[in-house]
């Protein structure tokens, strides 16, 4: 088991290296002088010179890369020239928001998707199955930013039930914090729950044909007991895997959701930086979100090995 995990981890190292090269190279491809791009209309000759020095833009590019990577490895992403604040600190401040959003959305996804799939797969071809399939297909097709707008329109501006945006620290008021996360998490969850529901249904149907299910049925066990005691545990492997992958995709979706609901997370920080052409910040957040995405996939991979011992030997 440990060997399997170690092998997976070893594969991640060159990938991380590749990601850092890509992100670095991408930001060097910005047309024009990066110093002018960063400073924008406020650029003065003095400012440009200071910035060129701070980012070592006059050194050869490979040397710049090594210097940058060395900093990143120590958690030093350099200074944000607009806010005059260390970028690493800014990311660390915003990371908990994105992580909480992602985890809450993952919980919603599981709570909606798995029952939906069980309902559909338990009675194949029935009315519930057809309804769940239709809901799944529509759910997959809903753009999440539009769903967010519709939820705001209906539930916060219309019915006045939930806040349409903003954020309260968990330490200040846990309940207020969760209330503010309700709509964003739901927005992020719906299309992923639809995918998970479809997959759960397929996994359930697949397991239903197995010998042990027919045996359980032959010995007179009720359908409900069969579904929960025999089918679900065996269908869990693909369900957990896909849920893990979904958590990764949510990190991307969080960018849009954080923007709609004005949550101060890393996704919104990225987007703000992109719109302001604040390239040092874009470079850092893209790398951090990418690394998190990879980490989630890695954990999913290892988890897969934990649940299903056959995978480890491959």
């Amino acid at each position: 088991m440990i060997l399997y995990a170690a092998r997976r981890l070893a594969l991640a190292v060159p990938l991380l290296f590749g990601m850092s090269v890509l992100v670095f190279a991408l930001m060097r491809l910005v047309p024009g002088d990066p110093a002018v791009a960063v400073l924008g209309y406020k650029a003065t000759p003095d400012g440009i010179r200071a910035l060129r020095e701070a980012f070592h833009l006059d050194e050869p590019v490979p040397q710049q890369y090594v210097r940058w990577l060395g900093g990143v490895a120590r958690g030093d992403f350099g200074l944000d020239f607009r806010q005059n604040e260390p970028i690493g600190r800014m990311i660390l401040d915003r990371l908990p928001v994105t992580i909480e959003l992602t985890l809450l959305a993952a919980a919603c996804t599981a709570l909606i998707g798995v029952p939906l799939g069980l309902l559909a797969g338990g009675r194949r071809g029935g009315a519930a199955d057809r309804a769940a399939l239709a809901v799944g297909l529509v759910g997959v097709s809903v753009p999440d930013f539009w769903l967010g707008i519709m939820l705001i329109l209906g539930l916060s501006l219309g019915a006045g039930l939930l806040p349409s945006g903003g954020w309260v620290p968990f330490a200040e008021s846990p309940i207020e914090n969760l209330i503010h996360f309700a709509l964003p998490a739901l927005t992020l969850a719906v299309s992923r729950a639809a995918v998970l529901g479809r997959l759960t249904r397929a996994a359930v149907l697949d397991t239903m044909h197995r010998g042990f299910v027919q045996y359980a049925r032959a010995k007179g066990l009720g359908e409900r007991a069969i579904l929960f005691r025999h089918v679900l545990p065996n269908a869990a492997i693909p369900i957990v895997t896909v849920l893990g992958l979904q958590v990764g995709y949510m990190l991307g979706g969080a960018i849009v959701v954080e923007m709609i609901f004005t949550l101060p997370g890393v996704g919104r920080m990225t987007l703000d930086a992109v719109l302001e052409r604040n390239y040092p910040v874009v470079q850092s957040t893209v790398l951090v979100i990418g690394a998190m995405f990879m980490l989630v996939n890695l954990v999913t991979d290892v988890l897969y090995g934990v649940i299903d011992p056959r995978v480890r030997r491959r």
């Binding site: 060159p14 990938l15 590749g18 990601m19 090269v21 890509l22 992100v23 991408l26 930001m27 491809l29 910005v30 047309p31 194949r124 399939l133 297909l137 529509v138 997959v140 097709s141 809903v142 753009p143 930013f145 539009w146 707008i149 519709m150 705001i152 329109l153 501006l157 479809r198 249904r201 397929a202 149907l205 990764g248 995709y249 990190l251 991307g252 979706g253 960018i255 849009v256 923007m259 990225t270 987007l271 992109v274 719109l275 052409r277 390239y279 874009v282 893209v286 979100i289 990418g290 995405f293 990879m294």
Partner: protein, 282 residues
């Protein structure tokens, strides 16, 4: 010809969803192509006196804050949506097919050389990579398509490679090789056609995702530039007026959903039809 093939091969239950999907996609594509013939109204002409006017029978989607007809903007925006989707998937196929074919057929070091860099591209969430690319290269319709093609190429290559790996150990490939078929002929005539199924399914899924991502990017302000009508831009504009004029945000969203749903239904149907083993079991 396609029609007959579909009718013969699809059991009645699959046919419904697939045909509905083709119908939706076909209708949308046709309206987009014929946009200016179907709706003589201009999508960009500003008429302040009609600003924020509610939907009527003559203008079922209402007017936006500048008095532009939302229906004719939606129809013209489909040109952008479908154009971006077609171009990005087309480009990704053009790049990803040969890469995946070579990687899958050669294996070994050449495979590693091709696939490792592509793995790096796939280590970012798709929308994040697209945003990063747009931030570097700027905005506009062509650049959205190009960014999406970059995001899609590794996906296509990976699907092709997996299919080639599965197909190339088949007996008929050995047979053709034994008969002295040259490598290009072997790959193009014997391996590629039999690896086409997953690629076709993947392509229709990617079309659906492309429509979503284009809308997202434009909504976020890093996609299509105004005044080009784009469904994402329309939603971004409408957000500020969603209380007085909810039709400004409702209809563009429904339009996105309809197109995405169409392509997803096509993908679902193709998957069940072409690959009964992997069928979702509808």
């Amino acid at each position: 010809m396609i029609w007959r093939a579909v009718r013969e091969a699809l059991p009645a239950r699959h046919r419904g969803v697939t045909l509905a999907g083709f119908l939706v996609v076909g209708t949308l594509a046709l309206t987009a192509v014929l946009a200016s013939h179907v709706l003589p109204g201009s999508p960009t002409e500003i008429a302040k006196d009609q600003a924020l006017r509610a939907p009527t029978w003559a203008e079922p989607f209402g007017f936006d804050d500048l008095g532009r007809s939302i229906l004719s903007r939606v129809v013209h925006a489909y040109r952008v949506s479908l154009g971006v989707a077609l171009a990005s998937v087309g480009l990704a196929l053009l790049a990803g097919l040969p890469l995946g074919l070579v990687a899958g057929y050669a294996e070994g070091p050449l495979d590693q050389l091709i696939m490792r860099p592509l793995d790096v591209l796939m280590s970012f969430p798709a929308i994040l990579l697209a945003i990063a690319l747009m931030s570097v290269f700027g905005t506009g319709v062509a650049l959205v398509a190009l960014s999406l093609a970059v995001v899609y190429t590794p996906i296509v290559a990976r699907v092709v490679r997996a299919a080639v790996l599965a197909v190339k150990v088949e007996l008929y490939v050995d047979g053709a090789r034994a008969l002295g078929a040259a490598v290009p002929r072997l790959v193009l005539r014997h391996i590629l056609p039999n690896a086409a199924t997953p690629v076709l399914v993947q392509a229709s899924v990617l079309m659906a995702i492309a429509i979503l991502v284009e809308a997202s990017l434009s909504f976020l302000g890093v996609g299509v530039r105004p005044p080009t009508p784009s469904l994402g831009l329309m939603l971004a504009d409408g957000r500020g007026f969603m209380v007085q004029a909810p039709w400004m945000v409702i209809f563009p969203g429904v339009a996105i959903m309809a197109a995405v749903l169409g392509f997803n239904m096509v993908a679902d149907g193709l998957r069940d039809w072409l690959d009964p083993q992997q069928a979702t079991g509808r």
